[in-house]
Amino acid sequence: MRFGGLLAVNDVAFDVRHGEVFTLIGPNGAGKTTVFNLISRLYTPSAGTIDFDGMSLANQGPHDLARLGIARTFQNIELFEQASVLQNLLIGRHTQRSTALWQELLYTPAVRRAEVAAREQVEQVIDLLELQHHRDARVASLPYGVRKVVELARALCARPRLLLLDEPSSGLNVEETDDMAFWIQDIRHELGVTVLMVEHDMSLVSKVSDRVLAMNQGEVLALGTPGDVQRDARVIEAYLGSVDDVAGLRRGAP
């Protein structure tokens, strides 16, 4: 993916298998979110192909992906701030609407039934992520940790087959990160959703991922299981660092 003179993503190739949790790691500016934006079709690749379930995504617009089964969360939370949590989740169900405009203007019984069915589906996601307390709160009044969970809930309401999580644990404390790890595992095991995520928290990555791809400067450094990638020398040098790197910065014992 080339932006003018800047080659942001250079010869990155990977496949995500059905039902696995695949993580992209790497320093900031490595091109991880750019890869996500390419998959979400917010950018068009200058070279290369993107296939989902045997179908090329090249002709799809960004709004077609939800219908195909791809949902994503955003690194800087992109929730609908002036709406309540419940309305955000109901918007997540937009691809499953079955009523036409004229029916909605008249609010026919069919619309009423569809709305009640949507509410029931959304309640299941609220139960999974324990958002009952915040159901009617306006998003603008919620703390950051809760907004992250609402972002995840909204993506789940779209009933995706592939879930793109952009830094799900950024800004969360230890307890919230543990909850996030449990939820990602629940999503994979109970809902059967494939998860592709970008993450910086290596403990979360080790706990949850099946395979990891390390990137730096838009290029692939290593691809494999979490343990393999974390031991790869080039990854340690570019991103993870080792105990020795910071030894010189430690103060001597008093």
Partner: protein, 358 residues
């Protein structure tokens, strides 16, 4: 403090959230039905204008308040509806059919405006709609065979099944009926998937796209619906005034409409009504207060425009949520007393929204 204890999902869908809600709006409706016997003819006419401007305000609220598309040319849609209604009623069409045709014609023109509007955002959209308003006003002035040009055109009274609505009271009830239907339509829209899609486009286009909302289609739909409502209001406006000319639908009228929804409260249905009440009563208050001011202020030619401008600036600076927002704050204070915090309605600062993809 009132707690709404809901026992089923259908409760969430109701328009009247609780008994008190239903009671007060029912009382308001009864009061409006009784208005012709309570008000003098002059104030009944003003109330009719409030209803007409509310319909147009609802249209502009759907577009600007709920979809976030700022339009400075909405009087043009009003004019399209007014002239369509005039042409059809003068050709002896029955009034409801003409009204529907006026709405559809305005919706068509709204779609035509909406399509290029997809490419521009924010202030550039405002400029584009402003330009459109000037173009349509000029079309009204030049197309003399249909619109009568700058000299204006008389509007016959609406006819339907032998009834002629030519008295103040029958005109008032006609406008009341259309207003109630328009309000219910907009409220139904807002609690259904299409209305939520509009709100999604306003708040975050990028994530609206990732939820599967086709931005172009919904923006065009918003323009069409908003223009249709403005056209309905314009058609009723033509019948009320019984004489229309192009200068009634100029940029000044468009700015009055924007002023109306901003002062009323952008993003709420109540805002359209409160703004319409403000728009109609402010000139009355100015006229009443003029005599008590020294001549140099009271008889100055631009006094009304000055007061409007000062009030608008005051609202934007001190009460951006408008009249309805102020009422919400007062109500919340009374409901939460003594736990009200002044930070409950604080606006989010823009620096929190970094790295926007658009």
């Amino acid at each position: 403090m009132r707690f709404e204890f809901k026992t089923d999902y259908a409760h969430d869908l109701r328009l009247a959230r609780h008994g008190g809600h239903g009671f007060w709006y029912g009382a308001l409706f009864v009061g409006l039905l009784a208005a012709p016997w309570v008000f003098t003819s002059y104030w009944l006419a003003q109330l009719t204008f409030v209803l007409i401007y509310s319909i147009v305000g609802l249209g502009l609220m759907v577009l600007s308040g709920y979809t976030g598309l700022f339009s400075l040319g909405h009087a043009a849609f009003m004019g399209v509806g007014a002239y369509t209604q005039t042409a059809l009623v003068n050709a002896a069409w029955p009034a409801p059919v003409a009204l529907a045709a006026a709405g559809l014609m305005s919706a068509g023109v709204g779609t035509v405006v909406g399509l290029p509007a997809l490419r521009v955002k924010g202030i550039y959209l405002a400029i584009a709609t402003l330009a459109f308003g000037f173009i349509v006003e000029e079309v009204f002035a030049r197309w003399e065979s249909v619109t009568g040009g700058n000299a204006g055109i008389h509007v016959h009274a609406p006819q339907w099944l032998g009834w002629t609505l030519d008295s103040d009271v029958s005109m008032y009830f006609g406008c009341l009926g259309v207003t109630v239907l328009a309000t219910l339509g907009v409220l139904n829209l807002l609690r259904s998937p299409t209305g939520r899609a509009f709100v999604a486009i306003r708040d975050s286009e990028v994530s609206a796209q990732s939820m599967g909302i086709h931005i172009a289609r919904y923006k065009t739909l918003s323009f069409a619906l908003s223009a249709a409502l403005a056209g309905l209001g314009g058609a009723l406006y033509a019948h009320k005034l019984q004489f229309i000319s192009p200068d009634q639908f100029d940029v000044g009228q468009s700015i009055d409409l924007v002023l109306m929804i901003v002062i009323g409260g952008v993003g709420s249905v109540h805002g359209a009504f409160l703004g319409a009440i403000f728009l109609i009563t402010m000139p009355q208050l100015i006229a009443l207060g003029k005599d008590h001011l020294p001549d140099v202020i009271g008889q100055a030619p631009g006094l009304q425009a000055l007061v409007y401008g000062v009030v608008l600036i005051g609202f934007v600076l001190f009460e951006p949520m408008g009249l309805y927002g102020r009422w919400i704050k007062v109500r919340t204070y009374l409901q939460l007393f003594p736990f009200y915090r002044s930070g409950l309605f604080a606006r989010q600062k823009s620096y929190l929204r970094s790295n926007r993809l658009k």
